[in-house]
C-alpha cells in the first residue's frame, strides 16, 4: 500500500521556508560541512597565502635544494631548484582552482543553454541536441581532452576551454530532463498566457526551479575539472612550467619519486583533498536541496 505517506496530514516540504530547512539539512551532513571548510581553506590559502609567506614561488634558493619538509626555513621543503614548495603549492592552487572554477562556469553556461533549449522545445531540435550530447559523451573524456590538447597551443585559456568542452554534457542532460518536466507545469502555462517570451519562461520561471540539481552538478564539475587539469598537466599538455599547477608539479616530481617523495606527495595530497572535498560538498548539497530527504 504505497499511499501511506501520501495520506499524511501534512507534507514535509510545507514544514518551513525552504532555505532554512536546506541549511539545516546541510548542517546535519558532517562530511559536507568538512568539505566546505577544506575548500574554504584551500581557496583562501591560494588567494591570500602568497602575500603572507616570505618566499616567491619562482625564487631559487640554490643552497636549499631538495630540502625535506618540516626542517629548516622552508616549511614544506623545496624542489630540485630550491623553490619553496608551500609557495608553489599555493600558486599552483590558484591556477588549478581558477581553471577548475572557470571551466565549471563555462560548462554550466553551455550545459544549461543546450539542456534548456532541448528540454523546452523538444521535438526535432531537442532530439538533435540530445543526440549530440550522447555522441560527445561516447568519447572517453581523457582521450577527447588529449586529442584536443594536441591540436591547440597549451595555455591557461585554452586548457580551461578544453576542460569546459568535455564537462558540459552531463549538465545538459540534467537540465533537459528538469525543463522537460517543468514546462508541463501550470505555472509555465501561466507565464505563457501572460504573453511571456520563451526566454523569459525558460530562464526566469523554469531554470530557477531546477537550481538544486544544477548546483550539485556544478560542484561535482569543479572536482572533475581539477582532476582533468591535473591529468593533462601531468601528461605535459596542460599548464606549462615555470607556471605552477598541481598537475605539472606532480609531473615534475616523477623522476625524484624515490629520492624526494614529498615533491609528488604534496601536490597529490592537495588534489585528493580538493577533489574529495568538492565531492562531499556535492553530496551534501544534493541531500540538502532535496526536500524529500527531510526526515528526522
Amino acid at each position: 500500500m504505497s499511499s501511506t505517506t501520501e495520506s499524511l496530514p501534512f507534507t514535509p516540504e510545507e514544514a518551513a521556508p525552504p532555505r532554512n530547512t536546506a541549511w539545516r539539512r546541510f548542517r546535519r551532513h558532517r562530511l559536507a560541512m568538512l568539505g566546505a571548510a577544506v575548500i574554504a581553506v584551500l581557496v583562501l590559502g591560494s588567494v591570500l597565502g602568497p602575500f603572507v609567506i616570505p618566499y616567491d614561488e619562482t625564487y631559487i634558493d640554490i643552497l636549499h635544494r631538495f630540502a625535506p619538509p618540516f626542517a629548516g626555513p622552508h616549511v614544506l621543503g623545496t624542489d630540485e631548484l630550491g623553490r619553496d614548495m608551500l609557495a608553489r603549492l599555493m600558486m599552483g592552487g590558484r591556477i588549478s582552482l581558477a581553471v577548475a572554477f572557470t571551466a565549471m562556469a563555462i560548462s554550466m553556461v553551455i550545459g544549461i543553454s543546450v539542456g534548456a533549449i532541448a528540454g523546452y522545445y523538444g521535438g526535432v531540435v531537442g532530439a538533435a541536441l540530445m543526440r549530440l550530447v550522447d555522441a560527445v559523451l561516447c568519447f572517453p573524456t581523457i582521450f577527447l581532452l588529449l586529442a584536443l590538447a594536441a591540436l591547440v597551443q597549451p595555455g591557461l585559456g585554452s586548457i580551461t576551454l578544453l576542460i569546459a568542452a568535455t564537462a558540459w554534457m552531463e549538465v545538459a542532460r540534467i537540465v533537459e530532463g528538469q525543463i522537460r518536466a517543468l514546462r508541463e507545469r501550470d505555472f509555465a502555462v501561466a507565464a505563457e498566457v501572460l504573453g511571456a517570451s520563451d526566454r523569459y519562461i525558460v530562464f526566469r520561471e523554469l531554470v530557477p526551479n531546477a537550481i538544486a540539481p544544477i548546483v550539485v552538478s556544478a560542484t561535482l564539475n569543479v572536482a572533475k575539472a581539477i582532476l582533468l587539469e591535473s591529468y593533462v598537466s601531468f601528461l605535459g599538455y596542460g599548464i606549462q612550467p615555470p607556471v605552477a599547477s598541481w598537475g605539472n608539479m606532480l609531473n615534475n616530481a616523477q623522476i625524484y619519486l624515490t629520492s624526494a617523495p614529498w615533491l609528488a606527495v604534496m601536490p597529490g595530497l592537495f588534489i585528493t583533498l580538493a577533489v574529495t572535498s568538492f565531492n562531499f560538498l556535492g553530496d551534501g548539497l544534493r541531500d540538502a536541496l532535496d526536500p524529500r530527504m527531510d526526515q528526522p
Binding site: T5, L8, F10
Partner: protein, 354 residues
C-alpha cells in the same frame, strides 16, 4: 454482538522537524453490522489518518504514535485489539476483516501485473486454494462489481481499464476475502459524476448482499447524504459532530456543520443567483498549529470572546443521542434560527420521502 468495530479515544501524533504534532485526538465511534458511517472533513481534519490507523498502515514509532483502543469483532465473534496485535496477525486481519479502497486506484494497483494476477494473489494469500479455483473466484468477483466480460478483463493491465473500471477492480480485490468492514477513502473523488453514481450504487448493493459495514471517507456532502446511515464530522483532528444522517442534515448542531451545509450551492435554486453564497470565512487551520480553545472559533459566527478561544469544548451527548463538540450548541441552534431546520432540497425527478 452487532457491533463490529469500536474505537475509543484514538489519538495520533506525528513527529515532524518542528516537534510533535497531534493529527487526531479523542476520536471515538462504533460501527454496527451493515451500517455505513460517513466521515466528513476537509484537508487536515484527520479523516484519512484515522482510517490508516484502523488498518495499522501508519509509520512506526518514533515517527508516529497511535494511542487509544481499537476493538474489532473477528469472524469467530472474538474481540481483537487491533493496536496490540502482532504484525503477523494484523496481516490476516487486513483483507479478512478490514479492507480498504483508496481514492486513486492507479497508485494502489501494480501497473505491470494483470488485474487477474493481482486479485488471485490476494485471494490465495488469505484463502489457500488452487490457482484455477482462485481464477474462477476472481472472475466471480469482477462480475459481482459489475465489470462486463470479467473473464477477459482478468488478463487486462490496470492502464487498459477506465478510472471507473479500475475502482471497481479495487473494490473486487477488497471484497475478495469478504471483509466485515470496508474502509473507502474518497473512493469516488477522482471519478466523473455519472461514474460516481455507478460506484455508489454498487457499494450500496454489495452492502445489502453481504451485510458488511462501510466507513466512507469523503468531503462531499452530497455523497454523504446519498450513502450514509450515520455521519461523523471531523475538524482539525477532532470529531465535532456525530449523528444519524437525516437529523444531521436537517438540524446540524455544530456551527461548522451548519456552515458547510449552507455554503454548498443548491441545485434547485440554479439560475436564481440570490446573492452571494453563505460562505464560512477564514481558512482551514494548519493541523500543526490549531487555534486555542475550540479549533473552529476564528471562523465561527457564534464566537464568544474569552470563552470559545479559552476552553476546549468537550464532545457533548444531546438528549436524543447525538454528539456535538461546541460550547454553544444550544445557543447556535437558536441563533441560527434553524429551529425549523434547513429547507428540504428537491432533486431532479424525485419527491421527498419524508
Amino acid at each position: 454482538m452487532d457491533t463490529l468495530l469500536e474505537v475509543e479515544n484514538l489519538a495520533i501524533r506525528f513527529r515532524t522537524a518542528q516537534g510533535e504534532a497531534a493529527a487526531v485526538s479523542d476520536v471515538s465511534f462504533s460501527l454496527k453490522r451493515g451500517e455505513t458511517l460517513a466521515v466528513v472533513g476537509e484537508s487536515g481534519s484527520g479523516k484519512s489518518v484515522t482510517s490508516l490507523a484502523l488498518m495499522r498502515l501508519l509509520p512506526k514509532p518514533p515517527r508516529c504514535h497511535v494511542s487509544g483502543r481499537i476493538r474489532l469483532r473477528g469472524k469467530d465473534g472474538a474481540l481483537l485489539d487491533v493496536l496490540d496485535l502482532p504484525e503477523e496477525a494484523m496481516r490476516t486481519v487486513r483483507g479478512n476483516n478490514l479492507a480498504m479502497v483508496f481514492q486513486e486506484p492507479m497508485t494502489s494497483l501494480n501497473p505491470v501485473r494483470t488485474i487477474g494476477a493481482q486479485i488471485t494473489e490476494t485471494i490465495r494469500l488469505h484463502r489457500p486454494m488452487p490457482p484455477r479455483a482462485a481464477e474462477e473466484e476472481a472472475a466471480r468477483l469482477l462480475d459481482l462489481v459489475g465489470i462486463p466480460s470479467p473473464r477477459q478483463r482478468l488478463s487486462a493491465y490496470p492502464h487498459q481499464l477506465s478510472g471507473g473500471m479500475r475502482q471497481r477492480a479495487m473494490i473486487a480485490m477488497a471484497l475478495s476475502c469478504e471483509p466485515s468492514v470496508l474502509i473507502a477513502d474518497e473512493p469516488t473523488t477522482a471519478l466523473d459524476v455519472t461514474i460516481q453514481a455507478q460506484i455508489l450504487d454498487l457499494l450500496r448493493n454489495l452492502q445489502q448482499r453481504t451485510g458488511m459495514a462501510v466507513i466512507f471517507i469523503t468531503h462531499n456532502l452530497g455523497v454523504v447524504a446519498e450513502i450514509a446511515d450515520r455521519v461523523m464530522v471531523m475538524y482539525s483532528g477532532r470529531v465535532v459532530e456525530q449523528a444519524d444522517v437525516v437529523p444531521l442534515f436537517r438540524t446540524p448542531l455544530m456551527p461548522y456543520t451548519q456552515g458547510l451545509l449552507r455554503s454548498v450551492p443548491r441545485l434547485d435554486l440554479a439560475g436564481r443567483r440570490a446573492g452571494p453564497l453563505p460562505a464560512i470565512r477564514g481558512n482551514v487551520p494548519d493541523p500543526r498549529r490549531p487555534p486555542a480553545g475550540c479549533a473552529f472559533h476564528p471562523r465561527c459566527d457564534f464566537f464568544q470572546p474569552s470563552r470559545c478561544d479559552a476552553t476546549p469544548p468537550t464532545l457533548d451527548k444531546t438528549p436524543d443521542g447525538r454528539e456535538v463538540r461546541c460550547l454553544r450548541w444550544q445557543d447556535s441552534l437558536l441563533m441560527a434560527g434553524s429551529g425549523e431546520a434547513l429547507p428540504p432540497q428537491r432533486g431532479p425527478g424525485a419527491e421527498p420521502l419524508a
